[in-house]
Symmetry: C2
Subunit: 197 residues, 2 copies
């Protein structure tokens, strides 16, 4: 019964994500977003209420997309344990391709805003826990299949792997020799049986 929007919402979110990812929430101005999305301020505010509202939806989009990728990767492995090895193989490749070292939007946002913003901290912690739970259930499957010794603690290992991922996100911002990721992953996966890289 009224005029339909001319822009594609997913497209706008993608463009906004690029900017937020590179310069953070505080470091991104509405002017930056207007330039990146080609929307006028009025349209932006009509669609997302505020800079923060847009950011929140960007975060949600990113989380949804990331969780899908992890779930797919972990389900495609020949065996549960092999899936985890495959994940880190892919993770290492992806992180090398990120030449400007922008890292992970969730981790970046966590460190930028979590001390002062409870809503964002909870949202991101929730996301990180979901990823961790995927690793945990994969490790439990590995245990059920006899791939992983029964005396190992899947929850502790999952937390440990997450910490390794986060650490490598920081490592990537130092723009290290790509070989460094391989060495870190080697040590990270020493806890697990299976082929070495």
């Amino acid at each position: 019964m009224a005029r339909p929007a001319e822009f594609d919402r997913r497209d706008v979110l993608e463009k906004a994500m690029e900017v937020f990812w590179r310069t953070g929430f505080t470091g991104t101005s509405v002017t930056d977003l207007v330039k990146a999305t080609n929307l006028k301020p009025g349209s932006l505010y009509g669609a997302f209420q505020s800079k923060r509202g847009l950011f929140m939806e960007v975060i949600d989009t990113y989380a949804h997309c990331s969780l899908d990728r992890v779930a797919t990767c972990l389900s495609e492995g020949e065996t549960p344990l092999q899936a985890i090895h495959d994940f880190f193989e892919r993770f290492s490749n992806d992180i090398v391709l990120d030449e400007i070292g922008r890292g992970c939007l969730m981790v970046n946002t966590m460190l930028e805003l979590a001390t002062e913003d409870d809503e964002i901290r909870h949202k991101i912690t929730d996301y990180l826990l979901q990823v961790e739970n995927m690793f945990c259930s994969t490790l439990k499957k590995a245990q059920d299949a006899g791939e992983l010794p029964a005396d190992k603690d899947p929850e502790a290992i999952a937390k440990f792997l997450m910490t390794g991922i986060w650490g490598m996100r920081v490592l990537s911002s130092t723009r290290p020799d790509p070989q460094a990721y391989k060495e870190v992953i080697n040590n990270l996966l020493i806890t697990l049986p299976g082929r070495q890289h």
Copy 2:
């Protein structure tokens, strides 16, 4: 030959550090700094040239202080390997006390600014490498003393330990159960011989 400043430079740096630490560089306004330091804008700019100049000196102060702490800790151990275990014991205790989860100023700044600011990225990377080198030389001492098997790669392990530290900085921003740190450290130090926690 002229009027001496009334404020204590170290004191001002400490106050400014608290603010930058909690809210980041971009998230901190000069007004915030004026309130925290009780200096008027004129005095602040007279002493530090710019908001960025003040931040740079804060970073340097933090780096110097941190490097001292790590060096002391690593040199006080009964043996090189024990020193590393001790470090992580202390690290775990410190991180639990940081209840608001502000983490490490260097890591926070790295993720906030490294993509856009080469000078800061180089400065912080340099600092991180210095810490890493302390671990590396401690590991080599452990090897010389026969504490650490000769087939281990001290450089790779040092990088791995650094990644663990960074990962736990992110972990701390999720405000986890303190026990989580212990479990992560257990897995982290599995690579090394010596007493388990």
